[in-house]
Amino acid sequence: MLISYLPILVYLIISIGLAVLIVALSEALGKKTHTAVKDLPYECGMVPISDARHRYAVKFYVITMFFLVFDIEAIFLYPWGVIFKPLGLFGLIEMGVFILILMVGLAYVWGKGALEWE
């Protein structure tokens, strides 16, 4: 039974070994120089303006929460999509009601001004 998985094991060993080997070789053989520019996160790109671990405006979290809630509702659209034809008009109406309820939620969020950035 398990013997059929042997190629995968061999493959894993070779790929991990190769990765370790390359990093180790370049670490051992390469010449190291440190300059201020070289130690930047992006050596040839944008110059970072500050540390990554600073506080974000709370607006981002609010948008995240809305995204989380509205995005997860899409999960119910997939099963409907799978059996769209057999369900016919009945399914269309049911999903219409479902989406209408979501729209009310969106209208509430909008009306309360939670989507305004400033």
């Binding site: 059996i83 009310v104 009306g111």
Partner: protein
Amino acid sequence: MTISIPSITLSNIGPLLTLTVAGLLLLLMDALTPKGKKGYFPYLSLIALVIAAVQTTMLWNRSGTDFARMIYVDNFAFFFYLIFLLATGLTILISIKYLEDYHRNLEEYYTLLIFATIGMMLMAAGGHLILIFLGLEILSIAIYILAGLFREDVKSNEAALKYLILGAFSSAFLLFGMAMLYGATGSLFLDDLAQAIKAGVGTNPLLLFGMGLLIVGFGFKVSSVPFHMWTPDVYEGAPTSVTAFMSVGTKAAAFAALVRIFFLVFPEIKMEWNMLLWGLAVATMTLGNVVAIAQTNIKRMLAYSSIAHAGYLLVALVAANQLGAISFLYYLVAYTLMNLGAFAIVILVARKKDDYINIYDYCGLGFQYPALAAAMSVFMFALAGIPPTAGFVGKFYVFSAAVEAGYIWLAIIGVMNSLISVFYYLRITVLMYMRPAEADLGPVTMTPAISSAVLVTAAGVLAIGVFPGPLYELALNSVKIFVGL
């Protein structure tokens, strides 16, 4: 591929539809109308509740299931619908002034209350484990938000977070239990579960494991010992009107689902759960009553008292006979009335920022505000179980059910617990009438809404205490669905 679409009768879920539409409408109107023009929101919600109640009474005596067996359409569910609608209506009446005093712009409150009511109704009517779970979560998520409604108040924040963490934690246990039941029987319908157990999977370890996890999950929701730790903190920190709603609504809803599952699905394996619940009932009653004695904050005292009452309700569940089921329903109605009444008085006395929340603030209330003190005494007598109030009759039914089922000791422990509880309930009455006022309470404003709530609850407690007959008949009518009892 063809799919047969089950026939559905929308009138069977009429009350739920009414409330859903009302809740969504309120949500939209809240977002679209300018500030300061929303004073009619509570009255609109009350109208929706009344319509739903009328629809429920029109549905009375229908029986069977609907929506492909997802929903039970029976008197047991309708009885609970009425309890929930009553609790929500009274909560709205007692919270109008309280919310206006605290903050101008909290109209989501009414929408959330209505959504919570829908969740509770789904729990009482659910015939499928998914539906019971969804009802529970609709209820819980609405109440998490309600508990944290006072955003600037650190205590309210803390209560909400504690409730959310422990609520989600307990939901996970409940879910795991449901998954295990599914694993043991291969179905999520309560009917099929009952049949599978009758057919003899009773000794399946998965089933017993699932049942234990269900007890843990529901134990959290009804705040039975040893899963009660969150109750006092959350009850103290949440806005008082929300505490009132929580103490009555969530408890009734969780018990509705618990009773339906245990009386419908598990009566065959009663041997496996009755001693467990016996222990829980005794621990819950005793701890609730003993710790309540030590409390000086009235909200915490009522929190421990609500734990104790969960214990009495568990006694009815342990008895698992017809009288037990009847007493259970009767007791829930009585508890709803007396607890909401007591909280109405607490709101009136505590005022805006919960300024007068210590029990010694009640000193001399009997001389300053005789009507308030009289009403409070009625509720305290009822909670303590002193005749001729509803609390006495309810306890009488509960303990007779226990005796009838052969649990003599359970009844004796219950009665002893009632005696302990008399001490801390009557202490409030003694303070009100026999001590001079310690602090000047200042003017207590009685609005028509809250006065009518106090009046209705006080009259109700006395009326069903003196004439328990009609309510008993209604309850008897509602529990006929449990043929296994």
